[in-house]
């Protein structure tokens, strides 16, 4: 059982812990302390919230069980992220049906935005708002397809390798690490240059095939950790097949992580497609945000001041990526509860301190030395105060 040796688990390749989520195991059981890396993993149930230090802290909600536990908590970031993402997604689905024909050149060229053309026209007279809508559909398709392919591949190379172990693990890990180190964009460029015809689907497939390695490594380390859990061991002893264990026991715990990786992969794919299109290697015959930017730069839109041509596509990419990243952030907060609770804890401590100062100002002197109501840690609050000064 050498592969279960915790000492060899996480440090075969340093890149395993490339993302902070690798530090925390996704099934909610407390992460190993970094200072105790050599001690076998014994799950110790702990309070998820570290905000119990002061009574003024918001009441810790009872830990939610089941699926609801995995949903991100509502927060400003999440709402903004969802609005951006869903908004642009709806735009991509609905808008192409209601806008003008993006291939219609019957309009005057290089028109600034007006009532007739919300985003003006390009060098040939095509309505840019319609092109933006069509481009949204194109870019999102490429992103989603590439992201899906990347996730499926990383699932296979990551989880199977992590769970099965042994020579399978060594072999799959080797492939993963090689793919990780070989630079992605140059490889895509070389492949794209040899292809005679490049449709959107081919580009998406090529992008997906070259971008799965990073998340595979994360998933592998997660699977390895989960493998040593009691409930997994129990399933194994009960005689369940590996495939069933993976799909029923391990996969559900990794869903938030997978979701985060998928969203990340989508953003990367959209940016990569934009870059490829700019270099002239993008999908031929299709409109995506990347091809719009390519045409804008070829026709010198940047220098002749036709901002309505090159600003919207870039802005849309940025906003969509930002939205996905914000959602990712919220997912990170589920996976690594410290990310959520620590800032809240600090905030609450600060509020307590402010309240304390306020109270001290308004209260008469004799009571200044008494501990503040509800502050049962006494001096600790003052320490926290100094720390956060």
């Amino acid at each position: 059982m050498a592969d279960d040796d915790i000492r060899t688990q996480e440090f075969v390749t340093p890149a395993t812990s490339s993302s902070p989520v690798a530090e925390t195991v996704a099934d909610g059981i407390a992460p190993r302390d970094r200072t105790e890396g050599l001690v076998p993993d014994v799950p110790t149930p702990r309070d998820v919230s570290t905000a119990g230090l002061t009574a003024d802290a918001p009441v810790v909600a009872p830990p939610r069980r089941g699926f609801r536990e995995m949903l991100p908590r509502r927060s400003g970031k999440l709402i903004v992220g969802l609005v951006l993402t869903i908004g642009i997604g709806l735009f991509a689905i609905i808008a192409p049906f209601v806008t003008q024909d993006p291939w219609n050149y019957d309009n005057p060229v290089f028109e600034p935005p007006s009532a007739a053309h919300l985003l003006g026209t390009n060098n040939l007279g095509a309505d840019l708002f319609a092109q933006l809508a069509e481009g949204a559909a194109g870019s999102l398709t490429v992103g989603l397809v590439a992201g899906a392919i990347a996730v499926v591949l990383s699932l296979f190379f990551g989880i199977v390798a992590g769970y099965v172990g042994g020579w399978t693990d060594e072999g799959l890990s080797l492939v993963t690490n090689v793919m990780l180190v070989i630079p992605g964009l140059p490889l895509v460029i070389v492949i794209a240059s040899y292809m005679e015809s490049r449709s959107m689907w081919i580009i998406a497939v090529v992008l997906g095939l070259t971008s799965w390695a990073g998340s595979a490594i994360v998933l592998r380390s997660q699977a390895k950790s989960l493998r040593s859990r009691d409930y997994v061991a129990a399933s194994r002893v009960a005689g369940e097949k590996p495939m069933r264990i993976i799909t029923v026991e391990i996969l559900p715990n990794l869903l938030p992580l997978l979701a985060a990786q998928f969203l990340f992969a989508v953003v990367l794919a959209i940016l990569a497609e934009a870059g490829l299109s700019y270099l002239g290697l993008g999908p031929s015959g299709a409109i995506t945000w990347g091809t719009m930017l390519n045409q804008a730069s070829q026709h010198n839109a940047f220098t002749i001041g036709a901002w309505w041509w090159f600003v919207p596509p870039g802005l849309m990419i940025a906003l969509f990526g930002c939205g996905l990243s914000l959602i990712n952030f919220s997912i990170d907060e589920i996976i690594n509860p410290k990310l959520r609770t620590a800032p809240a804890a600090v905030k609450s401590v600060r509020k307590a301190r402010k309240a304390q100062v306020r109270d001290e100002d308004t209260r008469p002197d004799p009571e200044a030395d008494a501990p503040v109501d509800g502050d049962d840690t006494g001096g600790n609050a003052k320490e926290k105060e100094r720390v956060n000064a």
Binding site: F11, V12, T13, A15, S17, S18, S19, P20, E23, T24, D33, R34, T35, T50, V80, L174, N177, V178, L180, V181, P183, L185, P186, L187, V190, I191, Y194, E196, V267, A274, G275, Y278, L279, L281, G290, S297, F302, T303, G314, I317, A318, L319, G321, C322, L324, S325, F329, N336, K338, L339, A342, P343, A345, V346, K347, R350, N380, E383, K384, V387
Partner: protein, 331 residues
């Protein structure tokens, strides 16, 4: 020791894989280089019989030997430093072209990466330290910056700063009017090179600093909740000391470890950057080779880029093994 041995073995295997990949890709893909080149030359005007002969000599006769023999010959050439001859820049050998371009890329991209790493980690540490305050609002801003298409930002910067305001040059790695004979080892040349490299470096830093920042911030927040931080605070250590000696040093480790992933992004960004700024590095060489179907040059550049990335990763692994004793002992 075992750690270093394992890493070295891994990199040797990866190198072999990359070189073999480089060999096989053109043979798997469609496209006859000679016909394509002939058609491209014919665009410029009729091909004289003299040119026809030149082209035939350039591409050589059909290689009838087996794939394995070609493979061995490929390795042989490689070990002698022969990467072939460029078709579009005839008769310059590929290794000479790459040798000219590589220093520009390494210096610019290397410096910009180190700079963005340092800035990103420092800012991320500060944002993480200030968790729960208004500074958390930086996060959405940096995710926005992170998602901006890199070349879009670069083109806007050029349009504003180079064309309209003329604060920076439009193209090139150095001032070709001042140095028509090419690079010379003088102070003026060096300052011209720095001046031309400022905007490209700035765009690389801007586009990659967000990633380091966010990763570091998350790690900081996690780390600051650890027991030993609480102990340090309880002991009464100064906040700044806790921040630097206890928190940042540990929180930065995963970022270092994840360097290989980030390096991929840096390489991608630099290729696009060189295209936008017409910067004389290997990225632009590759793009030109791709556009003109100069397969020998393209493969040569891909190989060099891969080897450089491998070398960088290897160095980072060595560094990581040095910094983190657990890796050395466990690996």
């Amino acid at each position: 020791m075992k750690y270093y041995a394992r890493r070295l073995t891994f990199y040797v295997i990866t190198l072999w894989a990359a070189i073999s990949l480089n060999f096989f890709i053109p043979r798997l893909m469609p496209g006859n280089a000679e016909d394509i080149f002939r058609a491209k030359m014919a665009r410029k005007g009729e091909l004289t019989p003299a040119m026809e002969k030149s082209i035939q000599l350039l591409f050589g006769s059909d290689d009838q030997s087996s794939l394995w023999d070609q493979y061995l010959r490929y390795w042989n050439n490689l070990l002698h430093g022969d990467l072939g001859t460029s078709i579009t820049k005839f008769p310059a050998p590929v290794s000479e072209l790459i040798g000219q371009a590589l220093p520009w890329t390494i210096v610019l991209v290397g410096l910009a990466t180190v700079l963005s790493f340092v800035i990103g980690i420092s800012l991320g540490a500060w944002v993480g330290w200030r968790r729960g305050t208004w500074v958390d609002g930086v996060i959405p801003a940096s995710t926005l910056l992170q998602s901006v298409p890199y070349f879009w930002l670069a083109l806007i910067l050029i349009a504003v700063f180079s064309v309209n305001l003329a604060w920076f040059p439009i193209i090139g790695g150095y001032d070709t009017f001042m140095f028509p004979d090419g690079p010379v080892p003088t102070w003026e040349f060096f300052s011209s090179a720095v001046y031309h490299g400022f905007l490209p470096a700035l765009t690389i830093v801007l586009s990659s600093v967000g990633g380091w920042l966010l990763g570091m911030r998350n790690m900081m927040v996690s780390t600051l909740s650890e027991d030993y931080i609480t102990t340090a605070e309880a002991k009464g250590l100064r906040p700044f000391r806790i921040l630097t000696t206890y928190a940042t040093r540990n929180a930065a480790l995963p970022s270092l470890a994840g360097f290989s992933v980030s390096l991929g992004f840096v390489v991608a960004g630099s290729i696009v950057m060189e295209q936008v700024f017409t910067y004389p590095g290997v990225g632009k060489l590759m793009i030109n080779a791709v556009q003109d179907k100069d397969f020998a040059l393209m493969q040569g550049v891909f190989l060099v880029i891969t080897v450089t990335v491998l070398a960088a990763n290897f160095l980072m692994d060595l560094l990581y093994g040095f910094i983190d004793p657990r890796a050395r002992h466990n690996g």
